[in-house]
Amino acid sequence: MKRSLSYYLQLGFTLLICAFMVVPVLMSVAAGLTNNYFQGLSSGLTLRWIEEVLALYSDTLWLTLQLALATLAVNLIVGVPAAYYLASSSSRWARIFEELIVLPVAIPGLAIALALIIAYGGVHGLRTSWLFILIGHVLYTLPFMVRAVLAVLHSINFKTLEEGAASLGAGFFRRFIDVVVPNCKGGIISGALMTLTLSVGEFNLTWMLHTPLTKTLPVGLADAYASMRLEISSAYTLIFLVMLLPLMIGVQWSGSRLRKPRA
C-alpha cells in the first residue's frame, strides 16, 4: 500500500514526540549506570551508584511498598462495597456520595495535605506516623478504585445474578462475596493496579505529610535531586522506574483486557 506524504509527516511527528518522552528516561538510566556521567559512557559502567542508593535510601523503598499495599487493602475493603452501593442505589444520595468520593481528585494534593495537617497535625503520634501518609494516599486513590469497579458493575447485570443466588437462599453478604465480587474481578484488578501505581508515585500530598522518619521513594528522590550528585539521582530514578514498570505493564494489560469484550 502506498502511503501519502501526510502519513509520513504524521509518523515523523509522532516519533518526535515519542523521542521527547523516551530520550530523557534513557539518559537518566545511562547516567545511573555510568562511572562518571560528565566523561560519558567511556568512563565505564558500574553498579556502584545503585549500591550507594540502596545503602542510603532502602528504607524509603520499604515504606513505599508498605504504603502502597496498605492503601490497596483499605481501598479493597471500603472501595469495592462502596462501588456496589453506588451501582445498586438509584437514590439522589448515591449521586451526591459519588461526587463526594471523587472530589479529592479535583482538588490539588497540596491543599488536601494542608487541610489534613491543620486538622490532625496536632494529634499525638499521628503526625509522625506513616498512617498519616496512608490517609492521604487513600483519599487520592479511592476514586480510581471505585470508578474501575463501578464501570464493570454497570456493564453486567448483577441484579439478575443476585436474584438467582437469593432464590437459592444465599444471604446478602454471601451474595456479595460469592456472586458480586467474582463477577467484577476485572474491575477490581484494574482498580488495584491503578491504586498501587498512584500510591507508589504520589508526591504532592506525600511531600507535605512526610517527616524525616517517614520518607517515601518520591520524597527521597526529591531529596536526592536537591543534594546528591547526578549519578546517584539517576540510579535512584532507575530503581523507581524498575519498581513502576511491572505495575504500568499490568495497568495497560488490564485496560486492554477490559476493553476487548465490549469492542
Binding site: I77, V78, P81, S89, L103, A106, P108, I118, L139, V251
Partner: protein
C-alpha cells in the same frame, strides 16, 4: 424480592462516608475556618487577590496551565489521530512508550527536564557542539512548560485515542467525497466529533497543571507557581491563613473548571493519575 435484595445497602457505603467525612470534609472545613481566622479575617482573600506577589503567582500559573493545555491538546490530537487510525509494525510499542510516563510523579519529570535542558543536559551538549555555549532552559519558565507538557501528554493522548476509535469514519468519508478539503474535514467533522473528549481531557490537563508541585520543586527555578507559593507561605512564611486562603482559591479554580467542562461536554472528567 428486590426489597430483600437491597436492604443492608447503606452498610456498604458507610466506611467510605466515614473516611471521606473525617479526612476530607472536616479538614477542608477547618482549612476554610483558618483562612478567614487570621489577623485580617476575610480580608486575607482580598489580600491574596490584590497583593502583587500572590496575584503574579496566580497569573503565571494560569498562563502556564492554559499554554500547557492548548499545546498538549494539539500534540495529542495529531499523534492520537495518527496512532488510532493507522496500523503498522511497532505501533502498540509506540503507544506503550507514549503512555508509560503517565505514572511518573512531578519530581521525576522535573529531573528528566534537567536531563534535557539542564547545565549538563542534552541541549547544553548540543549547544557546545554548535556554537560553543551551553544551551539551558530547564531553570526558566520554558523548563516548567516542557515538564508540564511531558506529564500531560500521556493522559490526554489516551483520552483522544479512545475517542478517535469510537468516532464514525463514515461522516469523514462522506464529507471528503462531497469535496471537502482536509482542513475543512478537520474543522467541521473531526474536531466537533472529538469536542467532548478534548474538553474533558483539556480540563483535566489544566487542573493537573494548576496543582502540580513536584516539577517546579525539582527544577527549583525562580518561578513561583501557585503550589510553590502556598508551600513557601506555609513552611517559610508561617503564614498559615494565607496558605489556607491560597489553597482554597486554587482548589476552587480547579474544581470549577472540571465541573464546567463536565457540564459542557457531558463526558466524565475524573483526573487520571
Amino acid at each position: 424480592m428486590s426489597a430483600r435484595l437491597t436492604r443492608p445497602l447503606y452498610l456498604m457505603m458507610l466506611p467510605v462516608l466515614i473516611i471521606t467525612c473525617a479526612f476530607f470534609l472536616i479538614p477542608m472545613g477547618k482549612l476554610i475556618l483558618i483562612s478567614i481566622g487570621g489577623e485580617e479575617g476575610g480580608m486575607t482573600y482580598w489580600h491574596a487577590l490584590t497583593d502583587s506577589r500572590y496575584l503574579s503567582s496566580l497569573l503565571q500559573t494560569l498562563v502556564l496551565s492554559i499554554a500547557t493545555t492548548l499545546t498538549t491538546l494539539t500534540i495529542a490530537l495529531v499523534a492520537g489521530m495518527f496512532l488510532a487510525r493507522n496500523r503498522f509494525p511497532g505501533q502498540s510499542a509506540l503507544v506503550s512508550l507514549l503512555t508509560f510516563p503517565l505514572a511518573f510523579p512531578g519530581v521525576v519529570v522535573g529531573f528528566l527536564v534537567i536531563m534535557l535542558g539542564g547545565r549538563q543536559g542534552l541541549s547544553a551538549e548540543l549547544g557546545l557542539l554548535l556554537d560553543g555555549s551551553r544551551w539551558t532552559f530547564a531553570y526558566s519558565i520554558v523548563g516548567l512548560f516542557v515538564g508540564y507538557i511531558y506529564f500531560s501528554i500521556p493522559r490526554v493522548l489516551i483520552t483522544v485515542m479512545s475517542a478517535v476509535e469510537k468516532m464514525d469514519v463514515m461522516l469523514e468519508e462522506a464529507a471528503r467525497s462531497m469535496g471537502a478539503s482536509r482542513l475543512h474535514v478537520l474543522r467541521d467533522v473531526i474536531i466537533p466529533a472529538l469536542k467532548p473528549a478534548l474538553i474533558a481531557s483539556g480540563a483535566i490537563c489544566f487542573a493537573t497543571s494548576m496543582g502540580a508541585f513536584g516539577t517546579a520543586f525539582a527544577l527549583a527555578s525562580g518561578i513561583n507557581v501557585m503550589p510553590m507559593t502556598i508551600y513557601t507561605e506555609f513552611t517559610l512564611g508561617a503564614n498559615v491563613a494565607m496558605a489556607a486562603a491560597l489553597s482554597i482559591l486554587l482548589g476552587l479554580i480547579t474544581w470549577l473548571v472540571l465541573l464546567l467542562a463536565r457540564s459542557v461536554s457531558g463526558a466524565n472528567t475524573t483526573p487520571a493519575a
